[in-house]
Symmetry: C2
Subunit: 174 residues, 2 copies
DNA sequence: GTCTATACAAAGATAGAC
DNA sequence: GTCTATCTTTGTATAGAC
C-alpha cells in the first residue's frame, strides 16, 4: 500500500540527495542519531563531509527528511487495515525492523511545518480505521507505542515484552 | 509513602554530593539532559566545573544517580495503591511535574548494575498491585507510559492528550 | 559535485596548587 | 573542596579552488 504521491516527502529531492538520504538511513540504523555525524555519513558515501552541505542545508534538515520518510514508510507498512490485532502486529514488526528510525520519528518534538501537509495524519489514520473512534484510536496508538519503545530500550525484565503482554493489550482494544 | 531505606539511592552519598544532585535536578528540568553540561551545573552551584568531579566521577555517574532518584520518587508518588484509575492519575501527575526527569529515567537503556538491587522492581510493582496480574500490569504500564511520553513530546494533535483518551485507556484496564 | 583547509564552538575530563 | 589552566576530542559549518 503506497502513500499518495503528494504526500511523498522525497518527491522534491534531487537523485543525489536521495542517495545521501538512503546512506543516512543506513548509518542511522547502525549507529543511532546521536552518533551519526556529518563525518560518518560522508565516510559511508566515500566523500568528504563538507560535500554533504550541497544536498542538505544542515544536519537538522536531514533529520526532518528522515522523519518524513519514516512516517511514509510506517504508514505504508500497516496498510491495508483490517483488525486491531493485525494492525498491532504490523506496527510492531516495522518498528522492530527499523528501531533507530522509529525512535527518531516518534520521540522529541516534531517540526510539523517542515512536513508535507497531511502526512502525519495519513500516517496515524490506520488506528482510526481499526477502532472506528478517535479516542480509542489515540489510546491504542499510545499503548502500542509505549510497548514498542519500552521493548526497544530493553525495559522489560526479560528484555523483550512477553507475548502474553502483547495479547493482553490487544485483547483490551478488540 | 516512602521507599524502604535499603532502596534509597542517596544513602551512600556525602551531604555535598546530595546538594550537587539536587542542583543537577534543577538544571535538568530547566534545560534537559542534552544541554545540562558540567559547566552549566557548576554555574548553578556557583563553583567551577572541575570541582564537580570531586563528587561524581563522570557525567554518566551523575545520570545514574538521577535515574535512581527518579525511580524512588516516582514509586513513592503512586503509593499507596488503590484503583487503576487512581494509579494512572498519580503516574500522570508525577510525570507532568517532572517531565525531564521522567524522560531521563524511562528512555534509553538502563544500567541495572548501578542501581540498588530491587529498586526498579519496587518502582514498578504498583501496577501489579492494581491489576493483580503480571501481564496486565506490564500492558497497563506500557500504555500509560506511551500516553505520557507522547503528551510530553506534544505528539497529540491538540498538544495534550484529550481527557477522553485517558478515560478510554483507563476503562480498558479497569 | 567534490575537494582541502579551516573556522568556531562546545563538551568532558585531568593536573596540580591552595 | 575549590580553584586556574589546559588538554583532547568532536562536531557543525563555511570559503574558495577544481
Amino acid at each position: 500500500m503506497t502513500c499518495p504521491p503528494e504526500l511523498d516527502p522525497t518527491r522534491l529531492l534531487t537523485p543525489r540527495a536521495r542517495e545521501v538520504l538512503a546512506a543516512a538511513r543506513v548509518v542511522l540504523e547502525r549507529e543511532g542519531w546521536q552518533t551519526l555525524t556529518m563525518r560518518t555519513l560522508a565516510d559511508e558515501l566515500g566523500i568528504a563531509a563538507p560535500s554533504l552541505y550541497k544536498h542538505f542545508a544542515s544536519k537538522d534538515a536531514l533529520r526532518t527528511q528522515l522523519i518524513a520518510l519514516a512516517l511514509k514508510e510506517f504508514g505504508e507498512a500497516v496498510r491495508p487495515v483490517s483488525t486491531v490485532a493485525t494492525l498491532v502486529r504490523h506496527y510492531r514488526d516495522v518498528a522492530a525492523a527499523n528501531p533507530q528510525l522509529y525512535r527518531l520519528a516518534t520521540s522529541g518534538t516534531l517540526d510539523r511545518e517542515a512536513l508535507p501537509p497531511g502526512l502525519e495524519e495519513w500516517s496515524g489514520s490506520p488506528f482510526f480505521e481499526a477502532t472506528g473512534d478517535p479516542h480509542r484510536a489515540q489510546a491504542l496508538w499510545a499503548a502500542v507505542h509505549g510497548m514498542v519503545v519500552l521493548e526497544l530500550d530493553g525495559r522489560f525484565p526479560t528484555g523483550t515484552a512477553p507475548e502474553a503482554t502483547w495479547r493482553e493489550l490487544v485483547a483490551h482494544f478488540s
